[in-house]
Symmetry: D2
Amino acid sequence: MTAQIASFDPGRTAVLSMDYQTAIVSMYAKDPDMLARAAGVLRRARSSGMQVIHVRVGFRPNLPEISARSSLFSAVKNSEKHRQIFEGPAGDIHPALAPEGNDIVVVKHRVSAFTGTDLDMILRANDIGTLILHGIATSGVVLATLLDAVDADYRTFVIGDCCEDREPEVHTCLVDKVFPHYSTLMTAADF
Amino acid sequence: MTAQIASFDPGRTAVLSMDYQTAIVSMYAKDPDMLARAAGVLRRARSSGMQVIHVRVGFRPNLPEISARSSLFSAVKNSEKHRQIFEGPAGDIHPALAPEGNDIVVVKHRVSAFTGTDLDMILRANDIGTLILHGIATSGVVLATLLDAVDADYRTFVIGDCCEDREPEVHTCLVDKVFPHYSTLMTAADF
Amino acid sequence: MTAQIASFDPGRTAVLSMDYQTAIVSMYAKDPDMLARAAGVLRRARSSGMQVIHVRVGFRPNLPEISARSSLFSAVKNSEKHRQIFEGPAGDIHPALAPEGNDIVVVKHRVSAFTGTDLDMILRANDIGTLILHGIATSGVVLATLLDAVDADYRTFVIGDCCEDREPEVHTCLVDKVFPHYSTLMTAADF
Amino acid sequence: MTAQIASFDPGRTAVLSMDYQTAIVSMYAKDPDMLARAAGVLRRARSSGMQVIHVRVGFRPNLPEISARSSLFSAVKNSEKHRQIFEGPAGDIHPALAPEGNDIVVVKHRVSAFTGTDLDMILRANDIGTLILHGIATSGVVLATLLDAVDADYRTFVIGDCCEDREPEVHTCLVDKVFPHYSTLMTAADF
């Protein structure tokens, strides 16, 4: 653990590990070391006393959470193939990053981890003001959750090398140019 | 089914059946016929094509949703006895009103069914604009959910004789004097 | 100032003075001393360093905030007479309770002071965790704002003799039987 | 007006014209024709019966909306120079794009137009389900508002050549690679 992590107040800090579900990992994660890096972050977060919160996509049977009007999600609702991404073992959090001990799991139905979930309630109930984000994809859950967190006055950090996107140039643009305006960028090694 | 129910557009109407959990029923429900009346409402709602949504209180292990500062809920967090109200069979929805078929279950951690849940998301995704409420207690989940629903522009109905409160005079005051300002009052027989 | 007020941390406490608008006062307030009591509360709050926040109903021209579907508010939208309640001097905060100095004014368009406003944002930005509520009517803005505040984990107090309702028995039932479940009741003299 | 605009239902569509404030325009807008293009969009929107909504940043005296903890906004709170960007004529909507007729103005205090405002309330009250977005900066209000709109199930369009960013490559990456995943891209000429 570096000097940097010592500057967090662990009791008021949460690591958000987002959308690391088995099918999503297999579709998006090209760097074979990313899971190991992310697993190391979770391990160090737990041992330092930070709250680990896993965010994952999930639905009730027949997906009542999804509008037929949603251009983004109606494909999931209407296509058996898309739906399978989030069902059964494919939809589980990847075993390398699975919940342990006092970790919390939040199930979401949209892009941002805050939309229609109890994430903000849990964070405030536990006086957590600092969020450390990583996940897949960079231009999906990470981007949307970061912007919501900033607008809700959380202090935010993003672990850039524990995020990945289908398009590498999008990942690079966001991590290098957009996220630094809103957040402090870190690497897994910094943590 | 009376003429009155014919005035609902069933595809855009949901019945919210709230906090009818076994321990809560045994603590609050004094009228032995209330469960049968409420069960009849759910049966007629399903057969007419309305969406039935069950709302219940529930927590993750160790109740991370609850703040130590909460005067209302910290007792649940800190007292084994209070916590048992919401755990295991005591916390299940009462068998007489249990979910069936395409019913939806929403788990909440506060008084209102809207606070920190995906209820509003589900209602909007399904173009549901009319809510028919009943539950326990009148001065708890029914009152708080009704006021949130009104402020979110839902058209609301309350089935007064399927609500109950620890204090009968509070129930009567709310149903007779407060709810009519915000909502249309019905009885189970009207439905 | 009594011993009781000394137990508040003034820098983290706000007094919410709600819907004390001239036309509303003239319609609802029957006790001629209520305005003087409420004015004393605001004066003592300011001198002790608490934040005073005035909440009032107001609309843009043509009331785009109001849905034609709203059974509660469409009368305001569609009736010139109802609309005048909230326009010009009739809609201003009553001169006896007018904003002063660093007081904040929040304009709302629904029943609860939290719905569609920046109230929660302002409270959190200023680390305010305790709210002291009073206003007109007891079964309107006070009830709805109290329930929202409780579900958002604010510590709440209601100054019962600075609230009033069109129906005295509704006021009494809420203040004596419903509010104590959610809040600590005070009188203006306690403050 | 092209064939494309004919596919909108004007009565259920709003154009969001965002953060086009005089000081922001002078800092960000490098293309001298952008204001004329955006003004044309507003003109055609009004004449076709769409609702034009202007979104702008603004604060009460002393900026109580801003937390001292906010890394993004505390500079505005604490620096006279930053604050002047949003005050007086500098903070007004640029005259070339000023509100007219039945246009609506929404004042915000964060990045997204939805955070802590009545925008969602106004849209829902008017049955508006389609949003056409433009504004400054691409990586600020446009990005954050788009993501919130998508998560709230609005159908969204972005007019790419009526958005601009301090960094042209960020603008290009977002408009070409990120926005198309969430939205339909248009040009002012398409509209």
